[in-house]
């Protein structure tokens, strides 16, 4: 489904991703872990199409299509969704209005009929229930005045409504208490299906107790430095990222000698 090959990305004149290669198949959940500043969010942004994230080398295909050639809205319509690490507050734009505009824009892009406001409201109410979110969330401005946890849950709520083929969750677990974390995980697990894939970016192993990944990757200094099964996450948790760094130094030493 998603094929990233030798991806190099420059942000504000600085090389952040330096040859990242990754393949995610439909139905899989991949976790990406790594120290702060490794380039995890950069990966999410570049897949979603944020301006200022310059691809200097490499390719990304999504279901065989050149993802990097698409505008952000077209990527969304083909099924890419990014749950932001820092969701944006948009005063004056009603949450329901925003979500319906997004939902219908995606459908229109795919040549599907749009939903009227009644039908949409019904859909949205069902999803709210699943995530144990309050109705009043619908009447508020997008993320405005939301607590950290509410913002993260609002991201998952949007994901639940938009039903993307590939969801990239950027540290959706950070700042959540254990109950909120379980709700987020439940929201994700409900969407898991053979046609869907997830890229779960996290700093902590904790989330992966609830969203069990098929593959765990360690991203450090702009590259995947290690991949493994879910036990890799546990090992990282125990030994910390210093272990990766130490291992890298050893490798380099071995290479040099």
């Amino acid at each position: 489904m998603l094929k990233i090959d030798n991806l190099h990305v420059r942000v504000a004149g600085k090389d952040i991703l330096k040859g990242l290669t990754l393949e995610v198949k439909a139905g899989e959940v991949h976790a990406i872990m790594g120290p702060n500043g490794a380039g995890k969010s950069t990966l999410g942004y570049v897949l979603a199409g944020r301006e200022g994230y310059e691809v200097t080398q490499g390719t990304v295909t999504f279901n065989g299509q050149d993802l990097l050639a698409l505008e952000p809205e077209a990527r969304a319509a083909t099924g890419v969704f990014l749950a932001f690490q820092y969701p944006v507050e948009i005063p004056g734009v009603n949450n329901t209005y925003f979500l319906r505009a997004a939902y219908n824009a995606q459908r229109k892009h795919r040549g599907e009929p749009e939903l009227d406001s009644m039908a949409f409201l019904k859909l949205v109410r069902e999803k709210l229930k699943v995530l144990h979110l309050k109705d009043e969330l619908l009447n508020r401005a997008v993320n405005e005045g939301f607590s950290g946890g509410e913002k993260k849950r609002n991201e998952i709520f949007q994901m639940a409504v938009l039903e993307p083929a590939l969801a990239i969750l950027d540290e959706t677990d950070s700042g959540l208490d254990i109950d909120a974390l379980k709700l987020v995980a439940e929201g994700v697990n409900r969407l898991r299906s053979p046609e869907r894939a997830f890229l779960v970016i996290t700093h902590y192993q904790r989330l992966l107790d609830y969203i069990v990944p098929d593959v765990v990757h360690v991203l450090a200094d702009g590259k995947i430095v290690q991949s493994g099964d879910k036990d890799l996450a546990l090992k990282l948790e125990e030994e910390g990222y210093a272990w990766i760094k130490a291992r890298k130094r050893e490798e380099q030493a071995a290479f040099a000698s």
Binding site: E73, A77, F81, F84, P87, V88, G92, F98, A141
Partner: protein
């Protein structure tokens, strides 16, 4: 004498022989140059108007109760105040009010046009619609209007002023109105326009508020070749209150210049001004807000906020908040900003599938309507939002 001044004087030569229009060195007209107007030749106001089209007639009929002015003249046949019963009295040729000497345009209007006075003596349940219609007969003419609205003690009323012009109208429209709010009166006023980009409009609004009176002005300014609205509000009685909630949205080559003076003259008076400006393409938006707390107006509370968005590299915004305080124990706050559409918000919307042009429009609309949503009168709020939807172009980019 220049073309514009000549035409103004011609309408009332005896009274206006000493009139001087704002010149290039006039600080308060710095961004609204009259140069182009001075180079044109204007006719005096037409005595017979062009026939009104079906759309316009239907629009007029849909707004009631109403006072209709055609090319500056009150049209009694089209006006309809029946629904208001005894709550209002109308005088079609009242003695003119004297505008302040540094308002030459208001002086010209007061001298040239009969003053129409509307006296409101009881609460009006629905808004009173004032329609100022400029017809094709007024091409290249000076159209003037002098209006007084007076509210007796304790009365409350809402007024919507609709300015309707031909889409290619080239008239110079000069409106002067004098609003007098007696003690405890409340006046909600919405200024909404539908004018072509070649028209020129100058409006002078003076409001004098008695004790505990409240004046709330809402405005959606879409601009014109030249658009200037001066509001001079004097909080003359204790606890008088001025609230302004407006926005400017200028596109193409439109120009809109808003100038507000809030004068706190009595104790414990309050002014609260929020204005948002957006300028796209080659539009030019200007906002000048002066908060003046006069000697003795102790305990005044004055607040002014003007935020702006520049939407194109060729658009222009000028904002100038001024604070003058000569009293004690005054609370005063003012702030002005000029920024661009937030890239992060734009990306957030697009990342959810909303096309860029729509995302921009959503963000612009949200920015512009924020002050309008705070209008206290629900009917005026809805009309203001409808007016905003008309001026925000679909192809905002």
């Amino acid at each position: 004498m220049s073309g514009l001044a000549q035409a103004l004087v011609a309408a009332a030569p005896e009274q206006l022989d000493d009139i001087i229009l704002p010149g290039p060195r006039d600080e308060r007209w710095r961004y609204s140059t009259l140069r182009a107007l001075n180079q044109r030749t204007f006719k005096t106001a037409p005595t017979a108007s062009a026939p009104l089209g079906d759309v316009l007639q239907a629009r007029i009929a849909s707004l009631s109760p109403r006072l209709v002015f055609i090319d500056g003249r009150l049209d009694a046949a089209l006006s309809d105040l029946v629904a208001l019963g005894d709550a209002v009295t109308l005088d079609a040729s009242a003695p003119p009010a004297n505008p302040s000497p540094h308002w030459p345009f208001a002086r010209a209007a007061a001298a040239a046009a009969p003053t129409v006075a509307l006296r409101i003596t009881a609460a009006c349940a629905t808004p009173v619609h004032l329609l100022s219609i400029t017809t094709a007969a007024a091409q290249d003419a000076v159209v003037q209007q002098s209006l007084r609205v007076e509210l007796t003690p304790g009365t409350e009323a809402s007024v919507v002023h609709h300015r309707l012009g031909e889409s290619d109208g080239t008239a110079f429209v000069n409106l002067w109105r004098d609003l007098v709010l007696a003690d405890g009166a409340t006046l909600h006023w919405l200024e909404a326009a539908d004018e072509g980009e070649r028209a020129s409009i100058v409006i002078g609004t003076r409001a004098v508020l008695g004790a505990a009176a409240r004046f709330e002005l809402g405005e959606v300014a879409a601009g014109a070749a030249l658009y200037r609205h001066d509001l001079d509000a004097t909080l003359a009685g204790e606890q008088a209150e001025l609230v302004v909630r407006g926005c400017t949205m200028v596109t193409k080559r439109r120009h809109a210049d808003i100038s507000i003076d809030a004068r706190h003259r009595a104790k414990h008076t309050r002014s609260d001004i929020v204005w948002r400006g957006l300028a796209d393409q080659r539009g030019h938006g200007i906002f000048a807000g002066q908060l003046i707390v006069e000697e003795g107006a102790d305990g005044a509370d004055a607040a002014l906020s003007n935020k702006n968005l520049l939407l194109s590299p060729h658009a222009e915004i000028d904002t100038r908040p001024v604070l003058e305080i000569y009293a004690d124990e005054v609370k005063a706050a003012h702030g002005a900003t000029v920024g661009r559409l937030d890239e992060r918000s734009l990306f957030y919307l697009r990342s959810r599938g909303i096309p860029e042009a729509d995302a921009r429009r959503i963000l612009q609309l949200a920015f512009a309507r924020e002050p309008l949503l705070q209008l206290a009168d629900a009917a005026l709020r809805d009309l203001a939002l409808a007016a905003l939807a008309r001026v925000l172009p679909e192809d905002a980019s």
